[in-house]
Symmetry: C2
Subunit: 296 residues, 2 copies
């Protein structure tokens, strides 16, 4: 959690930014002012940054980007950097490059404009979906889903059955081994999944909307903005944000395992108040603070 | 001192920014990323900000400006904001306004392009000079000088001599009072200066240059970048920065009363090392850290 504040500056929190590490790859999700300093402060390796996802171009989600992009260049980055974000982020990147011609790596911008969740990035072990939110300007959430892993074969079984490489390949695909002598080595006996696929959703900023629970169904950890305490529901609606109780109800409806909240209004920065309200509906709620680490 | 780091992000310092309070007016000098949060953190009243001075458009001196300008608007600012900086800051402000049409106050940009110190702003009690530095891109330093204050008249004297308003006015202009009866009330006896004019110079970033000591002659407090320790003189020259010993020598040559240093390389962030080197030549050297307050 690199930044858990909303737009107005507060002493102890940066504006919105998160780093997500998946199988050794580092993703940055939103990049509010000061995100690069938070990365350094909290031990996220700046120079190993893989891909950037920007939810929308409100300053508290994007004004740290110019500084980060400069720092990567000063650090000697040569690898292209992929940036996903709404279409109106494009001119900001173009303007940045217009007065930073010295940048030594390629910025690859991928504009988002879907009306429902869509896979925007796929790696060997992961897929990333973007989904439209409801926030006045074009805004997107992101879901990171591990793919079903390959089967692993137990070491003891390799020795016990004298498995050949071909047979191990068969087991890794989830099939049984049928030998010429008619014997069968069942996949279920000797193979196992190293992990159950995990998922993380990043939802900021948005008013609640009808499809939200269905789109986020069953994610392991849901990060959701709760800009306002429940008593400010009217103000939340007006500004297209979500209250604590609305986020907790969503977590219930979507059947998520854990709810992590942030983006607190500068009016009330004591995160424990937000957490307490969420827990009245959804006990597995956790109020994020800068520097917190969640393992999924 | 809102930020005392140089360009590469470090955990405990923001990049360059300072707030200067003169007779209740707040000036911001440079606006590196995170400056607005430092202002809140260290008790500088954001909404009373008077004027902004930007030395040059390297990111560590200006990337906090967009966020600050947005925050002022969100806070309801209506008063125009004057921004002084090099000509190439203009397109950045224009671009910012192009996607922030909702900003409710006027930005008044004053491009700088002098070749020698020039008064750029004058108030009843203060004049601000800008001077060109030597740093690859157009870069300017700033000198803030209090004007000679009016004479004050001692309260006891008003009673003792039964001074009229006209006579007090005469004394405030520094003249003696000559009465019709031929008697004289000497200014020197009943009037005094409430303070000796003070001055502050902000010099960042620059390589040393020949006119520097003359242009900074006699300022009370000189802030000067010392990006590098003395052993890195070659690197400092290459990157158009100043070392500790060069800044201390300048402080001697310019006859300043106090030297405050900052903008430390991320290679060595222990400010006490920079301070110790400066003090070998100029004992009244002080290494600034974020949150430090200097009274002049």
């Amino acid at each position: 959690m690199l930044g858990t504040a909303s737009a107005m500056p507060v002493p102890d929190r940066n504006p919105s930014a998160q780093a997500l590490c998946v199988h050794g790859r580092y993703f940055l999700v939103d990049c509010g002012e000061g995100a690069q300093r938070s990365m350094v402060r909290f031990g996220v390796p700046l120079q190993r940054l893989d891909t950037v996802f920007i939810s929308h171009i409100h300053g508290d989600h994007v004004y740290g980007l110019d500084g980060l992009l400069s720092t990567l260049a000063m650090g000697g980055r040569l690898a292209p950097l992929d940036i996903y974000g709404p279409r109106n982020l494009g001119p900001m990147l173009k303007f940045f490059l217009s007065y930073n011609e010295w940048i030594g790596y390629e910025l690859r911008f991928h504009p988002l404009e879907m009306k429902a969740p869509e896979v925007i990035l796929e790696t060997k072990s992961l897929e990333v979906l973007a989904l439209p939110l409801k926030h006045g300007v074009d805004t997107f959430g992101f879901i990171f889903r591990e793919k079903e892993p390959q089967w692993n074969v137990e070491k003891e079984a390799i020795e016990k059955y004298g498995l050949t490489l071909t047979e191990i390949g068969t087991l890794k695909r989830g099939e049984d081994v049928l030998r010429e002598d008619g014997s069968c080595i069942p996949n279920a006996e000797v193979a196992y999944k190293p992990f159950a696929p995990r998922s993380y959703a990043f939802i900021s900023d948005t008013a609640p909307f009808p499809e939200e629970a269905a789109w986020l169904q069953g994610v392991d950890v849901l990060y959701h903005e709760t800009t306002f305490l429940a008593e400010f529901e009217e103000q939340a609606a007006k500004r297209l944000h979500t209250t604590t109780l609305q986020a907790a109800q969503l977590a219930l409806d979507a059947g998520v395992k854990k709810l992590v909240i942030g983006h607190y209004s500068s009016r009330t920065t004591d995160a424990s108040l937000y957490e307490a309200e969420c827990r009245t509906l959804f006990p597995e709620s956790f109020a994020a603070s800068d520097g917190d680490v969640y393992e999924i």
